[in-house]
């Protein structure tokens, strides 16, 4: 197992490199930031001087290497909007995004397991159809529309919760509810179909023939086998929850990474944008690695490919 994990960790390096390359290309194509950084009256000579100072007149490859060097030193540049180091901005916002992501993920997983297992157990009954219908509906709803509708219902029509912002637990409810609805709709059918498949396995029949109680058969024997792909499923949701929650964060003015990036895009603040994108990508890759480790721990028979 150690070998496998080592191999996985080594695989990350080229991925990260390619990532930096992709992001750098985007930055490069974004073009000349100088115009934004100087006051509008600045003449061409001032702009040319700034460009030279920032190293923007050097060839592509050289710029990339400088960029890479900066990254390794943690220097993502300075946001011209906030007048602050981009990396520190990102680090400020990460906890908020993680908070939202974790709460939503936990709720989704709990909901997913409860409804997924129930639907599998009562397969082909009205309950099953109902759960399936809900899941299908949840996957079809556009996230931003759910957010808007929730605001309409619970903040405007019935002024129960705040419309936006952060600070109290009340502020967390609507954004995480939105994300939970979206995420659990994806998780439920997966857990359900997995559970059904597991319950048809021979070892379940063996467990029954030993005289074990239904609950033991389901929650000991079936459950652990269902968990294995569930871990992957959860890890797959993480990128969406962190970066894709961009829209949710923006609508609810939740001060997380997503909103930071969106503002960055709107303001053409490249330093912030690339720092943010990098952060999200790195977190995703880490999350995948963690899920691989968890996978190994649960399933001792994993084939190391």
């Amino acid at each position: 197992m150690g070998n496998y994990l080592l191999k996985r960790m080594l695989q990350i390096i080229p991925v990260l490199l390619i990532l930096t390359f992709i992001i750098f290309c985007l930055v490069y194509v974004a073009g000349d930031p100088v115009a934004l950084m100087l006051p509008p009256e600045a003449g061409e000579t001032a702009k040319a001087a700034l460009r030279k100072a920032l190293g923007l007149d050097k060839p592509f490859a050289e710029q990339y290497l400088i960029y890479l060097g900066n990254l390794l030193r943690g220097n993502f540049g300075t946001s011209y909007v906030y007048n602050q180091d981009a990396l520190s901005l990102v680090l400020e916002r990460i906890p908020y995004s993680i908070e939202l992501a974790m709460v939503s993920l936990c709720c989704s997983v709990v909901l997913g397991i409860v409804l997924g297992v129930a639907a599998a157990h009562f397969r082909n009954t009205p309950l099953d159809l109902f759960v399936n219908g809900l899941a299908a509906l949840g996957q079809a709803l556009p996230g931003f529309w759910v957010a808007i509708m929730l605001i309409l219902l619970f903040a405007v029509q019935i002024p129960l919760l705040p419309v936006s912002g952060a600070g109290t637990w009340k502020h967390l409810v609507l954004p995480s509810a939105t994300l939970t609805i979206l995420t659990s709709s994806k998780i439920i059918p997966l857990i359900r179909s997995n559970m059904i498949e597991v319950m048809q396995q021979d070892y379940i029949r063996t467990a029954r023939s030993k005289g074990l109680r239904s609950s033991v058969v389901v929650f000991k024997h079936a459950f652990k086998n269902t968990l294995v792909p569930v871990i992957t499923i959860i890890a797959m949701q993480l990128p969406t929850l962190l970066g894709g929650a961009l829209i949710t964060e923006t609508i609810f003015a939740w001060p997380g990474l997503g909103m930071l990036i969106y503002r960055g895009v709107a303001n053409l603040d490249m330093t912030v944008v690339q720092a943010g994108v990098m952060a999200v990508a790195v977190i995703t890759i880490m999350a995948n690695l963690v899920s691989d480790i968890a996978y190994c721990l649960i399933d001792p028979t994993i084939k190391y490919q």
Binding site: L141, P142, W145, R192, T240, Y262, V265, V280, V282, T284
Partner: protein
């Protein structure tokens, strides 16, 4: 003729499949015949009738069945034209990402080794950035947002699942006896790919494509909502939602109806996709 009859018989057996097909056909019809079906020009501003409610409410009438927005545009007409845009973007993006993903997946799976390693690591890198984020940043960087750019951007974020799936299918099929047999008779790689592997990969491909159209439409609406997708004067459901957001407290219908439309469209496509999967994919357990 017989095949078509059989297709419909199979379809009618599944209630979700039929529903999906009906919805999808309905939306296609709306898109194609928007000109004829729409009661008004979607960009026609009727300043006398701004923010009129739907016809069943006070102040509404049958002239604007679903009401108007803050510039007097008829909501129903805009929804019909929006279908056109969403379908075009969805289908084109799916085609593009499908072709790219298929080719990369085939190469990666069949040839293995270094090409496989490179393609897969690139895929991992792409996949590590959430789609909407990447699309947003790319659109910002390229500073343009015509339909073509949008299609390309959505395709760029959607190819990874295709490539991965086709690759795994190819890996599975590569080990099958008939492929090995073909090799021993001296068939070239491309011959094998086209005649043995491709036909078996089609079912999964079609299923993913259907789901991908749904995903692309959702992404397009999200991007339009954020303001970087479809721009005026083209009409998009996402754009309508963005317009309606500020009017939520007072004129709820502007945002609600496009949202319902999007949901129904996606549901329809998903149902159809699920049915196709049950029918086409012999390996799927059809639970």
């Amino acid at each position: 003729m017989k095949k078509i009859k059989r297709f419909f018989k199979l379809l009618l057996r599944s209630s979700t499949g039929t529903t999906g097909m009906v919805i999808v056909l309905g939306i296609c019809l709306c898109a194609i015949f928007a000109n004829q079906l729409a009661p008004h020009n979607p960009n026609e501003m009727d300043l006398m009738n701004m923010t009129k409610p739907p016809f069943w409410m006070n102040g509404g009438d049958l002239n604007n069945v679903l009401g108007t927005d803050n510039l007097g545009h008829d909501i129903l007409s805009r929804m019909l034209y929006g279908a056109r845009i969403s379908l075009i973007v969805g289908i084109l993006a799916t085609l593009a990402s499908g072709i790219v993903g298929m080719v990369l997946g085939l190469v990666s799976g069949y040839f293995g080794g270094l090409p496989d390693g490179i393609i897969m690591r690139v895929a991992d890198a792409f996949f590590a950035i959430p789609g909407i984020l990447l699309a947003l940043v790319t659109l910002m960087v390229f500073k343009s947002s015509g339909i073509l750019t949008l299609v390309l951007v959505i395709a760029a974020i959607s190819w990874v699942p295709y490539a991965r799936l086709i690759r795994s299918e190819v890996l599975r099929l590569k080990e099958k006896e008939y492929v090995k047999a073909a090799k021993t008779v001296g068939a070239s790689s491309w011959f094998i790919i086209f005649n043995h592997i491709l036909p078996n990969v089609w079912p999964s491909f079609i299923v993913i494509s259907t789901m991908s159209v749904a995903g692309s439409i959702l992404t397009e609406t999200a991007l339009s909502f954020l303001g970087v997708g479809i721009q005026a004067p083209l009409v998009s459901w996402g754009g309508m939602l963005s317009d309606g957001r500020v009017l939520l407290a007072t004129h709820w219908w502007v945002a609600t109806f496009p949202g319902i439309m999007i949901t129904i469209a996606i549901l329809g496509i998903t149902f159809l996709g699920n049915w196709l999967r049950d029918v086409l994919d012999p390996h799927n357990k059809g639970l």
